[in-house]
Amino acid sequence: MTKKEEIDLYFAEDLAVPETPEPGESPDPWGSTRVVGTPMPRVDAYERVSGAALYPSDHTAPGMLHGAILRCPHPHARVKAVNTGKAEGMPGVRAVISGKTPEADVQWAYSGGVKTGLFDPVCRFEGETVAAVAAETPHQAWDAVRAIEVDYEVLPFVADERKALQSGAALVHDAGNRVKEDTYSRGNVDKGFQEADVVLEESFRTECEIHTPLELHGCVASWDGDLLVIHESTQGVYAVQQKVARVLNLPLSKVRVIGHYLGGGFGSKLQPGKYTVIASILAKKAGRPVKLFLTREETFLCTGNRPPSNMTLKAGVKKDGTLTALEFSVLGTGGAYPAGGTSLVDWLIRDLYTCPNVRTRAVDVYINAGPARPFRAPGHPQGAWALEQMMDSLAQAVGMDPVELRLKNIPATSQGREGNPPFTTTGLKECIVQGAKAFRWDERKKEIEAASAKGPLRRGVGMAACLWIAGGGGPPSTVIVKVFSDGSVNLNMGASDIGTGTKTVMAMVVSEELGVKADVIQIEHADTGTTQYATPSGGSKTVPTEAPAVRSAAIDAKRQLLGMAAEDLGTEASRLVFKGEEIVSRDDPSSRVRIKEISGLKKRGVVVGVGYRGPNPEGKVVSPFAAQFCEVEVDTKTGEVRILDFLGTNESGRVMDRLTFDNQVFGGITMGIGLATTEVRVLDENRTGKMLNRNWHDYKLPTALDTAPRMVSRPVEMPDSEANNTGAKGLGEPVTIPTAAAVANAVHHAVGVCVTRTPLNPTRLSALFAENLKEG
């Protein structure tokens, strides 16, 4: 991946990404490992299960006030007047700010650089900020918010992206509703279709999903003199620091952002929100710390989403299964501001399977709805929904097994990129082959097809595969490993642990290199005041970015310790090796020194190792690969679908912690089941433009009863020695990309009906059955 591509990726969008210094000599990949790769419980598990872990929303400070935000109830309106007089006099109220408050007269940029006021007179989506209050209790703050009088001029709106470009559609921005149009092409698509034995075309749609991490979005902001301290629920403290400093015109050193724990993000917490700035201004105005966490309803409106995708895919295939051409178009929306409404939706069409002739077109439009934020594998599950269902249709048309058709088209290079660079490792074939074997694909498919159907229940199996565009990580990252005089270790890094087990994996890396047990490794992380620079934890890049830097830092500390030990033992450092808590001579096992007895270390008190993330391999692409298999049972009377089991194979380079690895796989599948079967944002496109299901009763997440009761994770371990010095690639996103398509394919296998639109629920299936199924 080029430097430019990396910086354009969503986890670095709008973020100043500095260069990491070149690391020293890059260490060889591990041969065998003692710690890395084992199933190790998390180093912070005790804190998380005992209640000792303090999440940002648990944070309190002396004199702390509670903030609440008045939000525009209309999808499009002009604020003509705000009267906060009554609210200011209410019990417990300590600060009220709105568009006319001088301290709040600051500019906010949504992604894409379009500026608005913090409290802009024009509200382009339901939930835009209008005013805010800080009071002694949250109840008093909300009482005051309700007492603020606002005169709105309600403006025409557009809430359906499919209508945004029609003539007469309300304009979200004066310049029109078209954000941008991206096109891509290679080869000769028309010729490709001529060469095909079968050409199929189908339209697909995935609905808008909301992230809804369990911990609400927000922060506790306080001022220590001129230092602004923010405890934010965030995936990236440095991203929050940069944005807040820019908006409030503060030096970076005067914004300290701390985010040790967070209750989920899935991409929606890669950046701060207006709420972060509002809390900071309220805290300044009131002269007291302010806790401002949104309500659940607010998070449905204004903390991002996975955009809806309206896709058409035309595909040509030869009788032997060779793909000859793919033509894809997508219409999507990132809401009321530029926010990647069609970002990466076409990537799998471009890159997953060998195909010489490909053309894609993506049209991104504005609607009057909350801006999107990156959502776990942006664009990819949508593209997989179309491509992987199409692959099954093509297989059926040419009389091949879906597995066989995919294996026929395994790519040798990244065709979607300029110059066809090769992948470092390509586990796609292994994922499909090993997954099919472990799932007993052939046998189960045959058993189902041979069974005579009695009653309304039908079974089916389905599979889908994927790659993830990023997942190789890269610079910058700086990490410090300190070895104290008793041999215990402090690991200092900027990255957040968003629940993927980052801290645990990094402790394992230190343990592997230095031989210390994980329980004497203390980790400082995710604090712009005290830890090193890191980009936000997103893009499945945290392990492949941070682990190599941690390893380099540990090796740097080790090198110094070996040098000190060599002085004590009167030998060369190169003749010494680490063995548990001792350094031992290779030549004479009796020549040894315990680490805490090394005189140099005792004298200095601490040895500081610094590690940097080295560059990625030139001219090569680092992508993780995956395949998933499932079986479903469809009730043809009720349209209910039971997902019986799921199996995931993932090639993410080296497996770092088998326990957290499997957990990621199961979690990704569960989230994919949500996209497939339950999740849909409903906007009242006709009368009000408002969101109709802004809560978890009406917007349903998969519960324990909706997920697959049995799941199996089978890692395809191919340590990637070219990718980085740990051999690990990203995992958190590929695990959710193929799921929804695999479910749809299984349903198709069961009942012969293509479900081209999410959610695949009884409402949708009943309607399709009415059209397609004959009684009896």
Partner: protein, 206 residues
Amino acid sequence: MQDKKTNSRFPVTRRGFIAAMGTGAAAVLAAGRLPVQAAPEETVMDPSEMHKITLRINGRTRRLLVEPRWTLLFVLRERLGLTGAKAGCERGECGACTVLINDVPRYACMTLAVEAEGADIVTLEGLMAGEELGAVQNAFLEEDAFQCGYCTPGQIMAVEGLLRKTPDPSEDEIWRGVSGNLCRCGAYTHIFEAVKRVAGTRRGRS
């Protein structure tokens, strides 16, 4: 929480029922009884006044001044510093705030503090024996039954309530037992394993 009469035109749905009862539904179903309270006295509290209440939490008696509208969750977190119970929705949807009230998992966000007087309340912190983890907490640690950890206190309390009533639950009882607790990270598979581990360990002992 008032025990609403069922109106035949508006039947009670499963999730609606959960919210109305303010409980970890499935655990209650598994428990085989409903936490229906006696019809409350029709007392109207002055909303502008603070009221003196006594709560029994984790075996300790706490005397507090509360507004009638304050939920048990707000009092636990913001007044007593017991942040084990998490705020996820504050309207009975997610279960992150689940605590045991008289051994039954209940949503602390749907329980007013003034209603909780006289009840025996156990929070996540109350499962600890000093600094030692309780059995369910330990099983969650061993099985990696969480990711971000935010829904985890509620999941653990739902499991604790389930096992107090049903020490040897079937798979179906386990799934239902935690179905009132959302996990967006999707750690359900490992949560099921954690429940089996505790039940299995306890079987081994008895």
